[in-house]
């Protein structure tokens, strides 16, 4: 009987298995070492806890009725509960727009009341285009505009971080659009800051061109971002697209957040961004909240996405 030259004898099999085992073992050990280095690099900067911790929630669309989510109030309530049970008190919570679905006074009342249930010292908001469907954001500003400038934009400093909240949803023909007044505000707002100040920018519509054909971009965002090019750490957080997405361009990192209401299709998937009805039991996977932390000395913010439980 002759042996097939392509078959492996017992000794060869043992030898190959040993090499494979060594490859797996070395890879695991290497992964441990790299994780440890990354962990100690973070720990060097973190004393007891991150300098700043906050949560992002977006696109609650209170007042929406449809098959994609028969009860948006319930899912938004879950999101609020989830934030209240993070195990720590976030320094603030940001809602990145489309608080309501149709900007009616009772929808604004309802969402404001729900947001007051968040256990955090501050709740910040920016308007979405659904919050300004018929009055260029007047009802939104009556409910949430205290302390803001212009048509609802503002900035503040917290734990050494400069936060800018922009409004790019008021021009319904040019979604998204910031406008000259707001660009001037950004320019003056950051003029006195040192370049090592971490910058966080909130807006409803992405400040990068995610899919402009669907209004998933801001036509004059590059002018605003050019004012931020000298800063070493710039993070832009937005809603509007109802899905997670991230992108880096030079010193700027963009993170689109998901929704608490209903999913939208992926960019270009279909003729228009209409609510997607998922199979029963799958909706929670598409909805969620986001935890964000910043540790002094690090350039990148740490993000943790949580799907709605």
């Amino acid at each position: 009987m002759t042996q097939d030259p392509h078959t492996m004898n017992r000794r060869q099999l043992i030898r190959h298995t040993a090499w494979f085992g060594a490859a797996v073992g070395l890879a695991v050990a290497g992964g441990e070492v790299i994780s440890h280095v990354a962990g100690s690099a973070s720990a060097e900067h973190a004393q007891s806890r991150p300098t700043l911790r906050f949560a992002q929630v977006s696109d609650s669309h209170i007042g929406f009725t449809g098959g994609a989510n028969p009860d948006v109030t319930k899912t938004f309530d879950h999101a609020i509960d989830q934030i209240n049970n993070l195990g720590y008190t976030p320094d603030f919570v940001i809602h990145t727009g489309d608080l309501t679905h149709l900007s009616s006074p009772d929808q604004f009342d309802q969402v404001k009341q729900m947001l007051s249930g968040l256990r955090t010292p501050h709740v910040f908001t920016v308007p979405g285009e659904h919050d300004s469907v018929d009055d260029a954001g007047q009802k939104y500003r009556s409910a949430f505009g205290a302390g803001t400038r212009g048509d609802g934009w503002y900035s503040f400093d917290i734990a050494g971080v400069h936060v800018i909240a922009l409004v790019n949803t008021l021009n319904l023909k040019k979604l998204g659009h910031l406008g000259i007044d707001q660009l001037e505000f950004v320019k003056k707002d950051v003029a006195g800051l040192s370049s090592d100040t971490p910058i966080i920018v909130f807006s409803h519509i992405p400040l990068f061109a995610m899919y402009p054909d669907w209004g998933w971009g801001t036509d004059d965002a590059t002018q605003a971002l050019s004012q931020l090019s000298r800063f070493s750490s710039v993070t832009c957080l937005n809603g509007h697209v109802h899905q997670l997405f991230s992108k880096t361009e030079g010193n700027v990192t963009f993170y689109s957040g998901t929704t608490t209401a209903y999913p939208l299709p992926h960019p270009g998937d279909g003729p228009a961004p209409k609510p997607v009805t998922l199979p029963a039991g799958k909706l929670g996977d598409a909805l969620g909240i986001r935890e964000v932390s910043y540790t002094k000395g690090q350039t990148a913010l740490a993000l943790k996405e949580q799907r709605l439980l």
Partner: protein, 140 residues
């Protein structure tokens, strides 16, 4: 022959180590926080380092295939991240500089070395085939 094989192993190991080091550096300096991409960078770096060590230690032929798959996979991921996106993550051009360019050069070199070695060994095998003369041919 021995020297040629040693140089091939050295080239593969060096290019993998450079690719792994680049991914590990980016992981430690911020990419660890990017969902899915961070984990992918950690896995790429650890696998690349492991393969580099074992190839240099004289491991079997399939390690070279694994090296090419790792480098090729990273290149595909690089292209996806600059075009349609990868796990919802996109980057532009050669950012982060210079790591993106260094990594791509190392990975292309790795794939080319593997392809060259494969092509070379197949040619050598073909040239080694001896066609036996039919019995009795010399007696005629």
């Amino acid at each position: 022959m021995k020297l040629k094989e040693f140089l091939l192993r050295l080239g593969l190991a060096a290019s993998l180590a450079v690719s792994g080091a680049s991914h590990a550096y980016l992981y430690v300096h911020g990419y660890q926080h990017i969902p899915t991409i961070g984990t992918a960078f950690l896995i790429q770096a650890s696998v690349a380092f492991a393969l580099a060590v074992l190839i240099l230690a004289g491991g079997p032929w399939w390690l070279e295939w694994a090296a090419a798959a790792t480098a090729g996979g990273s290149l595909v991921a690089f292209v996806l991240s600059r075009t349609v996106g990868l796990f919802g993550f996109t980057e532009r051009g050669w950012d982060p500089s210079p790591h993106a360019a260094i990594t791509v050069i190392a990975e292309v070199l790795c794939v080319l070395l593997w392809a060259g070695a494969l092509f070379g060994s197949r040619r050598a095998q073909v040239s080694k085939i001896i066609v036996p003369e039919p019995l009795g041919v010399y007696e005629r």
